[in-house]
């Protein structure tokens, strides 16, 4: 939503006063960070606040907030002792963000949401429900996201059933979950795999049953962030037929090169032969591997295998 500057400012100030009241003596930088503005903006807000008060406007009727030795203090809050309740729009934004992680009944996320709905102002409930109806992110991720994110936050080991499609193995893995992320519409779990004794990237939609264990592990020291396909040593060149060219150009952006005949040539990582062949098959003949030779052969073999099983 786009709000007027006055609105945003007011909303910030109604948080700033109670925040300083609760945490007196924080540095100017800390307070600025907590209320989400620059140091300069914060100092201007503090100036404005010294003018705010109520009738009859005697000295004690003004908000008394000040900076001393680079720290922010408050002596009189004029009853602004807690922030206002969540607005309907704030409640919906939070609920939608939570829905991304697939709150499951009985989980920490869904009980958190239930508690928050209770503190929405009664007059905002109708609007909250109406807005919530217009923002739908719930179908975007696999159901196991809630359990996995809980495990990450509580540093608890997970037992998971992992199926790498195509490879033909379904295995039980025990992992220390480190990070969950969504890349190009696909959810991944970065974890230390105790079964394989190394950091691994798991596709969440390939995880079957997942069990939260009671074994905890120490906070990991900065694990390496991986993005799938970011460092390929086996580039594969693929050509899309003209009828698919503009869709794929949208996806690959500047990395794609449009040919004179209307087709589109892109380079994708070929590190996983299985991924590559499945991906090319999913275009039903409208994507052709140009090079290298091993990749062309692999796709042909996969197509043949499908023909034989069909």
């Amino acid at each position: 939503m786009s709000y007027t500057l006055a609105f945003e400012r007011l909303r910030r100030l109604l948080f700033l006063v109670p925040f300083v009241s609760k945490h007196p003596g924080l540095t100017v930088d800390e307070v600025a960070k907590a209320v989400g503005c620059s140091k300069q903006d914060l100092l201007e807000e503090l100036d404005l606040l010294t003018l705010v008060g109520r009738p009859p406007f005697q000295p004690d009727d003004y908000i008394d907030i000040y900076v001393e030795d680079d720290r922010v203090y408050l002596d009189l809050d004029q009853r602004l002792s807690a922030p206002p309740r969540l607005t309907a729009a704030e409640g919906v934004a939070l609920a939608a963000a939570a829905a991304l992680l697939k709150p499951s009944s009985g989980g920490a996320l869904s009980s958190a949401l239930a508690k928050l709905e209770k503190v929405l102002p009664p007059q905002a409930m109708a609007r909250y429900r109406e807005m919530a109806r217009a923002l739908d992110v719930s179908a975007d991720g696999p159901d196991s996201l809630a359990t996995i994110s809980q495990a990450i936050l509580e540093h608890r080991e997970l037992e998971l059933e992992y199926v790498s499609v195509g490879k033909g193995d379904r295995e039980q893995r025990r992992v220390r979950p480190l990070e969950l992320f969504s890349h190009r519409g696909q959810w991944y779990l970065q974890a230390f795999c105790l079964t394989r004794n190394g950091e691994r990237l798991f596709r969440v939609d390939r995880i079957g049953a997942v069990t939260l264990t009671d074994t905890t592990f120490p906070e990991p020291e900065g694990s390496t962030r991986q993005v799938p396909g970011s460092s390929s040593e086996k580039p594969v060149k693929v050509r899309f037929a003209p009828e698919l060219a503009s869709w794929q150009q949208e996806r690959f952006g500047d990395a794609a090169s449009l040919q004179a005949d209307g087709s589109l040539v892109v380079t994708v990582p070929g590190d996983s032969e299985r991924w590559l062949t499945r991906w090319v098959l999913s275009f039903g003949g409208n994507a052709t591997v140009l090079e290298p030779e091993w990749a062309i052969r692999a796709v042909a073999e996969a197509a043949l295998a499908s023909l034989q099983s069909a």
Partner: protein, 335 residues
């Protein structure tokens, strides 16, 4: 006195009031602010009251009683955010979800979300844990940089029920068309934002990829008056494809797919419906409105996924696999 200062003063006045406050009381307290004619000051006060309402601060009119005169009141219990009583685990996971959405670069209601997180964290005692959940929604291609701003405009238009004028790029025709749309809702599917709304050009409900919108302008006339109403039975989910076979290209065809081997336990995850089990096999039945979308998807799952029925769908899978094979077979040679 600037507007922000005046509104804050009003909040302080009402939070402190022990009896209803009349408009005359307000004028007496701020003579410079609510001067002029009675009409003018009444209108000004109404605008301020509306703005406070948006901030979650309702000033309510109280009738005169034997004890007190009529006037506006602010219920302190309804103003203050109470301690929501979140456990540390609940707070951590909520914070992780909110921070991930905020950092994703493309989530509608960014400012609202930032404020909500601050309020939720207000009662926290210690520092909040690092999130360890990341969401990349800004995507690639199209006007990536404009995506967040366009989402905010659409979200504002949805919530105030104002129509928008879109320039929309169709990859099918490779042209940009201008159209007026009554925006009903937003949905995130596979990392892509979709807008569902009534298209004035096509005279029907349509779904648009937000990343294909080249420009969006919200109707600014009469901002507090709704341009349209959303039908009571409208659900965003009914109009957004979550799976490739859900794009509406033809009448629904019921297709049965069997899964074997390692795919057996993944039926629900791979197709979004409950599978039935027969011996070593699992079967799923889906209604496809884009048959080729389903068949190429089945093909991409490998030999463990097979189309069982109908017969013409099976024939089409064979045809598609043959096309792939032909494209990857050197002229005159076996692979």
């Amino acid at each position: 006195m600037d507007r922000t200062e005046r509104l804050l003063n009003l909040v302080a006045l009402f939070l402190d009031a022990t009896a209803p406050v009349s408009l005359d009381d307000v004028r007496d307290a701020f003579p410079d602010e609510y001067g002029g004619t009675e009409d003018a000051s009444q209108r000004k006060f109404e605008r301020d009251k509306a703005e406070l309402y948006e901030l979650g601060i309702p000033l309510v009119w109280a009738q005169a009683t034997d004890e007190q005169d009529a006037g506006y009141t602010l219920d302190r219990n309804e103003y203050y955010l109470p301690e929501p009583g979140l456990t540390p685990e609940e707070l951590a996971v909520l914070y992780a979800a909110g921070s991930a959405a905020l950092a994703s670069g493309a989530f509608p209601g960014q400012q609202d979300l930032a404020h909500a997180l601050r309020k939720v964290g207000f009662f926290a005692d210690g520092p909040l844990p690092a999130a360890h959940v990341r969401l990349e929604l800004s995507g690639s291609g199209g006007d990536v940089k404009e995506l967040p701003a366009r989402l905010e405009t659409l979200w504002a238009a949805i919530n105030t029920k104002k129509y928008v004028d879109l320039d929309y790029f169709s990859p099918h025709s490779r042209t940009v068309t201008s159209r007026r749309v009554d925006p009903y809702g937003l949905a995130l599917r596979r990392g892509v934002w979709n807008l569902v709304g009534w298209c004035h050009l096509r005279k029907e409900l349509r779904t648009f990829h937000v990343s294909r919108i080249r420009s969006v302008r919200m109707n600014t006339a009469k901002p507090r008056v709704a341009d349209f109403t959303v039908p009571a039975d409208f659900k965003v989910d009914d109009h957004v494809a979550s799976w490739p076979w859900e794009h509406r290209l033809h009448a629904p065809v019921e297709v049965v797919v069997s899964l074997t081997g390692e795919l057996v336990p993944l039926g629900r995850q791979l197709f979004g419906v409950e599978p039935t089990h027969e011996g070593e096999q699992a079967r799923v039945t889906v209604a496809a409105t884009n048959l080729d979308g389903l068949l190429t998807y089945v093909l991409s799952l490998g030999a463990g996924a097979r189309v069982q029925s109908p017969a013409d769908a099976r024939a089409r899978v064979v045809e598609l696999a043959q096309r792939v094979l032909a494209a990857h077979t050197p002229a005159g040679g076996a692979p």
